[in-house]
Amino acid sequence: MSWNVGAVVGLALLNAALVLVLAPLAEGVMRKLRALIHSRKGPPIRQPYLDLAKLLAKEDLRVTPGLFYAVMPSLTLGAVLVLATLVPMGARPPLGFAGDVVVLLYVTAASAVLMMLTAFASRSPYAFVGGSREMMLLMAVEPVMAVALVTGAVKAGSLSAGAIMEWNAANGPTLSMAVAGFALLLALQAQAGRLPFDIPEADQEIMGGTFIEQSGPRLALFRWAMWAKQLVVALLLVELFVPWPRFGLLPVDLVLALVKAMVVLLLVAVIDAVNPRLRIDQAISYYAKVAFSSLAALAFAVIGM
């Protein structure tokens, strides 16, 4: 395997930095759209940046002493940024050789694990309720993502995300990839923590659940991590399942990918704006149905469609 250390490090940093910088922007645009659907004026698009700046400067109130609890928010956002280096953005994923789609699935879960551990460590019963719901939702959503990614792996004959992207770009749309991409889109709604699946936070019900005891800089990092995660999963969706057109020129492909991801996120925002929250058992049975239906994608892939 021949790879240039400098290029890998540069691309990895580029991916992480892009996600870090652009995630609040995407969130701002989504909020604006949501407001428009509600016939409100809505906050300015730069509002998420202002929120972060304000939160970072506020007092840091902690209910649990100790280093373990203190570093959790940075580790969570760090895990999401690692995920960003495993996802193709305009080019093969920079750390694609170090982690294939199975690693990608586990790293996606890892950021959720860190959030749940923080919730449990904050000792609030509301956080426990939130953490327990988050885990159930994860159990329901991850299989859908897994089926979608494995469908790609079957088509490409490789478990590497870059290989799946290149195969799809070269061979054009197929039925199985379309079904798998649609399943991943449905999974994105919950991965982004959006209505109707914002059940772990459920502000009106358990007051932020997982994050009830987080404030100031800690809350800023967790919010940032959530926004970054929705952007990364959207990028994964568009790069693996809608990689056309492809120019082979990094800046062009990158901008194209970001635009496509933004469109996907706007779709997510629309669903978010027009839906009420589901109960957790309804969400589980919904995603169970999606997972079983998405097996059709796998079946199509196996018979070569």
Partner: protein
């Protein structure tokens, strides 16, 4: 030193240790230290034996021969045996060190029935792993089963422990019977109990009498899978693990159930020719998948910390069996993938020994200090038992396969092998997806344990200390091993690879060609790299990025203040406002309620005349007893407590005696 004398020394030291700890068993701690010293010294020859096994292999030699039976105690150590010996040795040392203090909290039961039996158990395990002869294999196997049975029923006065022991005894002996039948069938074919002869016999039988050959394989599958804890035969496991002393639970999960896997590998990779292995591979993989799904989901529903871990062992053994099945099935058609799958199975076995022993010791440490195994009643122990909490957290995350801990490396290999094999045979892809889902369920239950035991608030305020160093040290060491083997999976892989090669006598591609990678593991099939996992690189990226984010967090210059938990303004004791372990995942648990059915078996009833005859109480004992009672009752009426009456009796008696004497004399 010759291998023969190394093995001799090893067994002799364990025997001397057993005797010595029996002599001093009145003093609990001293007996423990004596056993520990014995195991530690026995480590030296064992380690040399393992090194010899890995480097050049210990050629076969006879210790004892029974020519009339066609049996001889032939001993050899190949890399596969050496790998299992190494795992057993590590777990043995950790478990004995842990037990030194742990065993002091049993009041009613003496350690005379713990340390000596445990050391004999280790010796028997070594015997199982090195012998090349089926008859002596069975002898050692039986010795191992019996000693472990006595360790399970250690608590004499606990009915649960006795019941679990009986179940273990009955089920494992039924399994041993299956193995005995299979070995006898092989012996009838070849006239010898030797492993190589059995291999030839199996080859001949598959051609001449395929039905018998497959019957032999089925019997061996049942026999070994029972010991390994594969459902449904593994039903003994969730009862036996929780009731054994925690050090022994660690050994049961870390070493004993692994021997079932050892047997399966020897049979289905060694005895069975690759050409006819596909069907059996699918059977093993399906059994493993069933086990891993049911084990994980049932563990999710448990509220007893050790019982939960026992079900989790069933689940993890399921992973190993799944990989083993995929490996066996791929032997003929895709030998490169067979290497990946078998390496995944063996690596997961090594990893599972590390984290599950660590977790059982952690659960034992909590039990030792608080006397509780009920997750609903525990809580908030993080700051009181930091070493236990930290190592249990690491072990739990490793169990759940969170990168970069060791459980992830092996689960990654297993799932990749399933998915890649699935490109040809879609069934394996479905099994791989089930395994992925089960690892999420695993994550769910370990988070429940962590949340319930170490985080959260205690219902009764437990004011406890950390466990003594001798109990904390093995936990921390095993947790450290979980991190080390996770970050540098190429190190254990270097031991696993020769074991894979040794497991398949028919020849298999060298593991180095398939599983390469300088920084981690990469899978190369037909010259193309199809999957990769480089933990060091990903971990380094994560650390660098997290550090940058940490800098970002500190940029605002926020001041830190500690505050109490906010319960909506109400001031409650934190022990009252808490989320109990049994409340976790309720909707999900309700959905899977029927996944582990309970059979309630009734003892057979004899026909009533027989039953009446057997009830000797009613026709023999009770009538006699009642008669005696009546007689003594009427006798007691004479004892009225008035001296005059007694005097009257004496006078009457004297008159009667005098009368008798006169009659006799006259």
């Amino acid at each position: 030193m010759a291998a023969q004398s190394l093995l001799g020394w090893c067994v002799a030291l364990l025997g001397v240790g057993a005797a010595a700890s029996l002599i001093v068993s009145r003093r609990r701690e001293l007996a423990g230290w004596v056993a520990l010293v014995a195991v530690a010294i026995a480590w030296v020859p064992l380690a040399l034996l393992v090194v010899a096994g890995f480097s050049r292999g210990v050629p076969e030699f006879d210790v004892l021969a029974l020519p009339s039976l066609g049996a001889r105690l032939a001993v050899a150590v190949d890399p596969l045996s050496a790998l299992f010996l190494a795992v057993t040795a590590v777990i043995a040392l950790a478990a004995v060190l842990y037990s030194v203090h742990y065993m002091t909290h049993y009041r009613a039961d003496g350690v005379a029935k713990f340390y000596p039996v445990l050391l004999v158990f280790f010796a028997a395990t070594i015997g199982v792993l090195v012998t090349q002869d089926l008859l002596f294999f069975l002898v050692f196997w039986e010795l191992m089963t019996l000693t472990s049975f006595f360790l399970v029923i250690f608590e004499r006065e606990s009915p649960a422990s006795q019941r679990a022991g009986l179940k273990y005894f009955v089920i494992t002996h039924a399994a041993t019977l299956c193995m005995l039948a299979a070995f006898l069938l092989l012996w009838r074919q070849s006239g010898s109990f030797h492993l190589a002869a059995a291999r030839e016999a199996m080859g001949v039988m598959l051609v001449e009498r395929p039905l018998t050959a497959h019957l032999v394989l089925l019997l061996l599958l049942i026999g070994f899978a029972t010991k390994a804890g594969v459902l449904p035969m593994g039903d003994w496991l969730p009862d036996a693990h929780p009731v054994a002393p925690s050090g022994m639970s660690a050994v049961l999960s870390g070493a004993l159930v692994k021997l079932g896997i050892y047997g399966l590998i020897r049979v289905f990779c060694g005895l069975l020719p690759a050409a006819s292995s596909f069907g059996w591979g699918v059977v093993i993989a399906l059994a493993g998948t069933g086990s891993l799904l049911v084990g994980a989901l049932t563990a999710l529903r448990q509220n007893d910390s050790k019982r939960l871990l026992a079900f989790s062992t069933i689940g993890q053994i399921g992973y190993i069996c799944l990989a083993l099945g995929v490996g066996v099935a791929c032997l003929a058609e895709q030998p490169a993938l067979a290497v990946v799958a078998l390496a995944g199975a063996l690596l997961h076995l090594v990893n599972h020994a590390c984290f599950k022993s660590c977790l059982f010791m952690g659960a034992g440490a909590v039990l030792f200090r608080t006397g509780e195994r009920d997750l609903d009643r525990l809580g908030g122990l993080w700051h009181q038992m930091p070493a236990t909490a930290g190592s249990t957290t690491v072990g739990s995350l490793a169990l759940a396969g969170v990168p970069p801990f060791n459980g992830f490396a092996s689960k990654w290999l297993i799932i990749c092998s399933c998915l890649l094999a699935g490109l040809q045979r879609p069934i394996f892809m479905v099994l791989g997806l089930v395994a992925l889902f089960a690892s999420l369920a695993t994550l769910a239950y370990v988070l429940k344990v962590l949340g319930a035991v170490f985080f959260g608030a205690a219902q009764r305020r437990f004011v406890v200390d950390e466990v003594p160093v001798s109990m904390a040290l093995p936990q921390v060491a095993l947790a450290g091993l979980c991190v080390l083997l996770g970050v540098l999976p190429q190190l254990p892989l270097r031991l696993v690879s020769p074991a894979v090669t040794a497991a398949v006598p028919g020849g298999i591609p060298a593991a180095g060609d398939v599983l390469g990678g300088l920084l981690g593991i990469s899978i190369t099939v037909d010259g193309a790299t199809v999957a990769g996992w480089a933990p060091l690189l990903v971990l380094a990226t994560g650390i660098v990025l997290s550090a940058l984010v940490w800098g970002l967090q500190r940029m605002g210059g926020a001041t830190v203040r500690e505050v109490p938990v906010w319960n909506c303004g109400e001031e409650h004791d934190s022990g009252i406002v808490r989320y109990a372990a049994s409340s976790f995942y309720l909707p999900f648990k309700q959905a899977i309620a029927g996944i582990y059915p309970r059979l309630s078996l009734r003892a057979p009833r004899f026909p009533s005349p027989v039953r009446r005859t057997l009830e000797m109480d009613s026709w023999l004992y009770l009538p006699v007893a009642r008669l005696m009672e009546r007689v003594s009752h009427s006798t007691s009426r004479l004892h009225v407590g008035v001296p005059q009456v007694y005097l009257m009796w004496i006078v009457l008696g004297a008159i009667i005696v005098v009368g008798l004497v006169m009659v006799v004399a006259g």
